[in-house]
C-alpha cells in the first residue's frame, strides 16, 4: 500500500529523530463528516552547515475528534497552541501531515492525488483570520468571490453573474459592491466578502479561523448571526477556531480545548462549560471576564507562560503549570478517556 511505503520512507529519512507514529486506524462512521485520528503536524527545525533537521516544532501532536454533519465544533486555546495549524492541516493546506488520519466523508484526505484534491477543495473551505490581509487588494470583490467558481466550472458562463449576485446577497452584500476593491470596505464587510468567497463553492465543511477576533463587538454579533443563518440554510459544518470563549459557547455544539498541540478536553458545549474537567480548561474558563460588576469570581491564575512546542515538557505537557500536578504527570503522558458520554479528557486525575 502506498501509505505504508510513504510512512516507511518518512521513517527512514528522519530515523535519528524518530517520530512515534502509531495509531489504530478508525473505521468510517457515516454520521461524521470529519474524523480526525491522532493527527500530527511537526515543523522541522533546520540547523547546522547542511541545514539538516535538528528538531521539530510539535505544532499539532496527536489530536483525535469526530465532527457530526451540520454541527459546529469550537476549538479554543491560547495563541501558539496549534489551533490554526490543526485547521490548516485538516484541509491539507500546510504540506504533508506528520502522522494520523483525516477522514473527510470517509476519504483519507492525504491519500488523494492532486487532481482529486482539487475537486475536493470545493467541499472544504476556510475563512481566514484577518480580513485586512486575506483579500487581494488588486482584485475587485466580484472577482475575489467568483475566481474559484470559474476555476472549478461550477456554474455555466451565462449564469455566472447572477450566481455571484446571489452569493453576495446571501452574505449581506449589495450587487453594486461587485466592482469595488477591498480597501473601500470596513472590517465587517470585508469579513462578509471572505465568507462569500468560501461559500460561493457550495462547501459542506468550513474552517472558520478566528473570523470575528479582528472586529468590533457590534459587528461581531452581525457576523456570528450571519454564520449561523448560513449554516441553517445550507446545512454547513463548521470548525470554529477562536480564543474568545463566550463566542465559542454561543456558536458551537461541541468544544475542543487545545494546549500545546494536544486536545486536552473535548465534548458537548453544555458539558464542557457546565462541568470543565481538565485543570487547564478550568483555569481558562475562570479567566473569562464577566460583564457584571457584582460577579465575584475565584480566578485560577496560571503561572508563567506556555512552554515552547519545540521542546515540550515530558509526560503531561501541562504539568509545569498545573495546580493538581502529581509525580506521575511528570513522566507519563495521559491517554484520552471518556468521562461522561461524549465528554473526553486527557488527564491523570480521572484515572479510575
Amino acid at each position: 500500500m502506498a501509505k505504508t511505503e510513504r510512512a516507511a520512507a518518512q521513517e527512514k529519512k528522519v530515523n535519528h529523530l524518530a517520530i512515534d507514529n502509531t495509531f489504530t486506524p478508525v473505521t468510517y462512521d457515516p454520521q461524521y463528516i470529519l474524523m480526525v485520528n491522532k493527527l500530527k503536524k511537526y515543523f522541522p527545525i533546520k540547523g547546522g552547515m547542511v541545514s539538516k533537521t535538528v528538531g521539530y516544532v510539535r505544532a499539532v501532536d496527536g489530536i483525535t475528534f469526530n465532527l457530526k454533519r451540520g454541527t459546529t465544533m469550537g476549538l479554543v486555546g491560547e495563541s501558539g497552541c496549534g489551533k490554526t495549524t490543526a485547521g490548516r492541516t485538516i484541509l491539507r493546506l500546510s504540506g504533508d501531515k506528520t502522522g494520523g488520519q483525516v477522514l473527510f466523508n470517509g476519504q483519507e484526505v492525504y491519500d488523494l492525488t492532486p487532481k482529486e484534491m482539487r475537486a475536493l477543495r470545493t467541499k472544504m473551505q476556510i475563512i481566514f483570520q484577518d480580513p485586512f490581509s486575506s483579500l487581494s487588494p488588486r482584485l475587485p470583490v466580484g472577482e475575489i468571490i467568483g475566481e474559484a467558481v470559474r476555476e472549478h466550472n461550477l456554474v455555466p458562463k451565462e449564469e455566472f453573474d447572477d450566481y455571484i449576485d446571489q452569493v453576495m446577497d446571501n452574505c449581506g452584500l449589495q450587487p453594486f459592491h461587485k466592482d469595488r476593491y477591498p480597501h473601500e470596505f470596513s472590517g465587517g464587510q470585508r469579513q462578509r466578502i471572505c465568507i462569500a468567497r468560501a461559500l460561493a463553492l457550495n462547501p459542506e465543511f468550513v474552517v472558520c479561523d478566528e473570523p470575528v477576533s479582528a472586529l468590533d463587538v457590534s459587528i461581531q454579533a452581525q457576523i456570528i448571526n450571519l454564520l449561523r443563518e448560513l449554516q441553517e440554510k445550507y446545512k454547513l459544518t463548521y470548525l470554529f477556531i477562536s480564543h474568545d470563549l463566550s463566542v465559542v459557547e454561543h456558536i458551537s455544539d461541541s468544544v475542543g480545548v487545545m494546549y500545546l498541540g494536544n486536545l486536552v478536553e473535548y465534548g458537548a458545549t453544555a458539558d464542557i462549560f457546565r462541568n470543565p474537567l481538565h485543570p487547564y480548561t478550568k483555569a481558562l474558563f475562570s479567566a473569562i471576564p464577566i460583564p457584571d460588576p457584582d460577579a465575584k469570581m475565584s480566578r485560577i491564575v496560571l503561572e508563567g507562560s506556555i512552554p515552547s512546542p519545540a521542546n515540550p515538557p515530558s509526560g503531561c505537557k501541562f504539568h509545569t503549570r498545573c495546580a493538581n500536578c502529581m509525580a506521575r504527570c511528570k513522566v507519563e503522558a495521559p491517554e484520552q478517556k471518556e468521562i461522561e458520554p461524549g465528554h473526553y479528557v486527557v488527564c491523570h486525575l480521572y484515572d479510575k
Binding site: 491560547e78 495563541s79 470596513s186 468590533d216 463587538v217 457590534s218 459587528i219 461581531q220 454579533a221 452581525q222 456570528i224 448571526n225 449561523r228 480564543h243 470563549l245 463566550s246 463566542v247 459557547e249 454561543h250 462549560f273 483555569a283 481558562l284 474558563f285 475562570s286 479567566a287 473569562i288 471576564p289 464577566i290 460583564p291 457584571d292 460588576p293 457584582d294 460577579a295 480566578r299 491564575v301 496560571l302 508563567g304 507562560s305 506556555i306
Partner: protein, 385 residues
C-alpha cells in the same frame, strides 16, 4: 454628460481650497504650541473638584484632513477621580484613543488639534490646563505625572534596542539627575520584578522579539510605571492578549494601582474587562459621550439605546440566547455628521423628540448621566441640565 459623482467625491479645486484653509488654521495652533518661555499664569487653572485627577471639559479635538474636518472628539466631558479607575468604552473610531492622546498632547500634529475646551490636571498644589500648555512644558508632565500604556506591545517597543536600555532611558530622562548608571539599572530591574517578570536580569539584556506578547506588555507597563505616575492611561492594554495572560495583566494593574495610589483611565471595547476593572464607566459614540455613570449603574441600568445594544450584542458565558442582537446600520461618516442625535439612524427606540438637535445631558442620578431624548421627562422632574 452628467457623470454620477460618488459620495464624498471632491474636485481638485475644492481639495486645494480645503488644504489651504487647513494649513492656515493649523499654523495658527502650531505657533501657540511652539512658543518658548510661556508664563505659567497662562495655563494655570482651578480644578472644579479637588478630588479629581483629570477633568475633561467640553473637549473638541478635530483633524484637519484634505477631505474635510473630522470631528474625532466633539464635546467630551468627564472626570477621573483620584485613586479610581475610569473605563472608556466604544467602537473603534469613536474617539476613545484620541481623547487620551489629547490629554498627553501626543496627537498627530499638525493635522490633529484641540480646538476648544480644556483638560484640567490636578498636580496637588496647583492645576494646569493641558490644552494651553506649550510642548516644551508638556515633557515634564509626560512620564512623571501621567503615562500611557500603548495598545500594541508588538509595535510600541523599539526592535533594535535591548529591553533594559529602553526602560533605562525613561528613568534617566525623568528621574535621572544625580543617578549613576548602576543605580538606574537597579531601578529598572526592580521595576521588571514588580511587573512579575521572573528572569529580570536576563530580560534586561534581551531584545523585544525574544519575549512573548504578555511579557512585552509587562515591559510596557514597567516603562509606564517607571516614575510612579499619578495617572495611568491604559489604551486597550489587553486586546492583543490571550484570556489567561489578560487575567494576569489585569491583576497586575489593579495591584500596582493600589500600591502607588494612582488613577487609571482604562480604554477598551471589551465590556467584561470594564466590569471587572472600572469604578466609573464612560460610553462614547461617534466622538461624544452618550452615557456615563458608576459601573453598577451602567451595567444594571444601561439607559442609552447604544449602551443597551452594546450589552446585548456581546455573547456571555453561561447565558444562552438564540440570536445575538446586532445594532443595525453603521457609524455615521465622521466628515459629515448629522445635526440630530448621531445614533438616531441606528436607534430602535426613537421617540418624537429625536428629530430635534443633538440631545443634551440628562441626569438620572447624581453620577449617572445620559444624552438621550427618552429621558427628557425625568429631567423635568428632578434632573438638571
Amino acid at each position: 454628460m452628467a457623470k454620477k459623482k460618488a459620495e464624498g467625491y471632491l474636485s481638485g479645486r475644492e481639495a486645494r481650497r480645503i488644504s489651504k484653509e487647513n494649513r492656515r488654521i493649523t499654523n495658527e495652533f502650531e505657533k501657540q504650541h511652539k512658543r518658548k518661555n510661556v508664563p505659567e499664569s497662562e495655563y494655570l487653572t482651578e480644578m472644579r473638584d479637588p478630588n479629581n485627577t483629570v477633568e475633561f471639559d467640553n473637549l473638541h479635538t478635530y483633524f484637519f484632513t484634505d477631505a474635510g474636518t473630522v470631528k474625532a472628539v466633539d464635546g467630551v466631558s468627564f472626570e477621573v477621580p483620584i485613586g479610581k479607575t475610569v473605563g472608556v468604552v466604544g467602537e473603534s473610531g469613536c474617539g476613545k484613543s484620541v481623547t487620551s492622546l489629547s490629554l498627553m498632547q501626543l496627537l498627530q500634529r499638525p493635522q490633529g488639534q484641540v480646538v476648544e475646551g480644556s483638560i484640567r490636571l490636578n498636580l496637588g498644589d496647583k492645576a494646569y490646563d493641558v490644552t494651553k500648555m506649550p510642548t516644551e512644558k508638556m515633557q515634564h508632565l509626560r512620564g512623571n505625572f501621567m503615562s500611557m500604556i500603548f495598545q500594541e506591545p508588538m509595535t510600541s517597543l523599539n526592535p533594535v534596542f535591548r529591553i533594559g536600555d529602553q526602560v533605562d532611558e525613561v528613568i534617566a530622562l525623568h528621574h535621572g539627575e544625580g543617578k549613576t548608571k548602576d543605580q538606574i539599572k537597579a531601578r529598572t530591574i526592580e521595576l521588571l520584578e514588580m511587573v512579575g517578570i521572573a528572569n529580570s536580569e536576563g530580560v534586561y539584556r534581551m531584545y523585544p522579539h525574544e519575549l512573548s506578547g504578555g511579557m512585552r506588555q509587562r515591559v510596557m507597563i514597567a516603562m509606564a510605571l517607571a516614575c510612579s505616575p499619578r495617572l495611568i492611561i491604559a489604551d486597550e492594554p489587553t486586546t492583543a492578549l490571550d484570556v489567561t495572560i489578560q487575567a494576569q495583566v489585569l491583576d497586575l494593574l489593579r495591584n500596582l494601582k493600589d500600591k502607588i495610589n494612582s488613577s487609571i483611565m482604562f480604554i477598551t471595547h471589551d465590556l467584561g474587562v470594564i466590569a471587572e476593572m472600572a469604578d466609573y464607566v464612560v460610553v462614547m459614540y461617534a466622538g461624544r459621550v452618550v452615557e456615563k455613570g458608576t459601573v453598577e449603574e451602567i451595567f444594571h441600568h444601561p439607559s442609552h439605546p447604544y449602551t443597551i445594544g452594546l450589552m446585548a450584542s456581546k455573547p456571555v458565558v453561561g447565558k444562552q440566547v438564540d440570536k445575538l442582537y446586532s445594532i443595525p446600520g453603521k457609524v455615521p461618516n465622521p466628515i459629515n455628521m448629522p445635526n440630530y442625535c448621531y445614533f438616531k439612524d441606528r436607534c430602535e427606540m426613537c421617540v418624537a423628540g429625536c428629530e430635534g438637535e443633538y440631545p443634551h445631558e440628562v441626569s438620572l442620578s447624581p453620577t449617572h448621566k445620559v444624552s438621550c431624548y427618552r429621558y427628557y421627562d425625568n429631567a423635568e422632574k428632578g434632573g438638571e441640565r
